[in-house]
């Protein structure tokens, strides 16, 4: 019985989080990966606004979009695009990089 109750609780919690997660609109920003570089490498966004980052990889090789300051990492396979949701940011700059080509693939999100 107790285990059942716990399972129901988890289910409702999950469903609730899912609903809040899909609500609310956000600003859309596009970034292209080409020749192991991000373009634009500097992305200006509104502070305190949710952001939807569309990253498309035009290279023949996979890349991993990674940022410690934004707490995001996601693989973008060759020729594909991914969507990354960012929370409302405080004004400031947040660096990101391509984990597979960290020497060339560098970028910055600037919230203002």
């Amino acid at each position: 019985m107790k285990r059942n109750a716990a399972m129901h609780f988890c289910f409702v919690l999950g469903l609730g989080l899912l609903l809040i997660g899909t609500a609310a609109a956000e600003d859309e920003i596009r970034i292209v990966i080409k020749d192991h570089r991000f373009s634009p490498s500097e992305v200006r966004v509104k502070a305190h606004t949710k952001i939807k980052l569309l990253v498309s990889n035009e290279d023949q090789t996979a890349e991993e979009f990674e940022s410690f300051s934004l707490n995001r990492e996601k693989v973008v396979r060759a020729g594909q695009s991914i969507t990354i949701f960012l929370p409302p940011l405080k004004p400031g700059s947040y660096d990101f990089f391509g984990d597979f080509h960290p020497d060339t693939a560098k970028g910055m999100v600037i919230a203002e």
């Binding site: 107790k2 809040i20 090789t61 991993e64 990492e73 984990d99 080509h101």
Partner: protein, 273 residues
């Protein structure tokens, strides 16, 4: 070449340390004969990584964008459940496992549970494995001259080799030290691994917008330990450390412990009756 070397070396150490911790744990509960469970899990993870990375083009519809993250999150949640279940079970049976395990029947039960270790080794290696394969495969696809492929790939493979060797030496070196304090807490360390996997899985769902971060970041500890540093990347890979976590990730991480402890207590209570 140096770049690929460092990247694969780091990924390998993360995966190999997880395997090493699992082996140490087996050793602790007097089951070093069952190491093969862990090795099998790791081996299958390498094979699965190759398949998974290789098939991605054909399965692109499924793995397009959020599909992959949901898949990875599901694997991480599975691993959390399996790991927790195993630690709780081992906790209760520690005495019997150490003592009278000569009985075949009991051994069989234990073996049943040890599949959990294979699952964990699998998840630990698979996570880093897919990335490593995709990364190295990129150099083949890039083409160009033979040297432009051979050098980075050689660097990458050397990185994997050195990573395994270093981790092996690390745990081998432990054999000569008095590790009683570590053994005492190794069950506890597994729980931290489980909490890390749980919170990483939640992080994947936050990234694709399926779970709200609630508040993000709740703090920034990169001044203390950055994931950019070697130590930071290991702590992140094994225990799920994040310098700028979201509230929902931190909540799941922190709530995992009291919930597991309550489960532990209730099981003890059930056994007592």
């Amino acid at each position: 070449m140096l770049g690929t070397f460092i990247i694969t070396w780091r990924e390998t150490i993360e995966a190999a340390l997880i395997v090493g911790i699992l082996l140490t744990y087996l050793n602790k509960i007097g089951q070093s004969k069952q190491f093969r469970f862990v090795y099998w899990g790791a081996l299958w993870a390498v094979i699965a990584s190759l398949i998974f990375a290789g098939m991605s083009d054909y399965l692109s519809v499924f793995f397009k964008d959020i599909g992959e993250d949901i898949f990875e999150a599901a694997i991480l949640f599975l691993a959390t459940g399996v790991l927790t279940h195993m630690v709780v079970w081992m906790h209760h049976n520690a005495r019997e496992i150490k003592g009278a395990l000569q009985h075949q029947a009991e051994l069989a039960i234990t073996k049943n549970r040890l599949w959990a270790l294979a699952t964990l080794a699998f998840v630990g290696v698979f996570r880093e494995g897919v990335e490593t394969v995709l990364f190295l495969w990129g150099f083949f696809l890039q083409g160009g001259g033979v040297t432009s492929v051979a050098l980075p790939v050689t660097g990458g493979l050397l990185g994997i080799g050195l990573g395994v060797l270093m981790t092996w030496l690390f745990f081998k070196g432990f054999g000569h030290l008095d590790l009683k304090p570590f053994f005492r807490v190794s069950g506890f360390i597994l729980l931290f691994m489980a909490a890390g996997m749980l919170s990483s899985g939640i992080g994947k769902l936050v990234t694709v917008g399926l779970v709200p971060p609630l508040m993000e970041p709740i703090w920034n500890t990169s001044w203390f330990l950055s994931e950019r540093s070697f130590l930071g990347s290991l702590v992140a890979g094994i225990f799920g450390y994040r310098s700028s976590p979201s509230l929902v990730q931190a909540l799941f991480y922190l709530l995992y412990f009291p919930i597991t402890l309550i489960w532990l207590r209730r099981q003890r209570h059930d056994l007592a009756q």
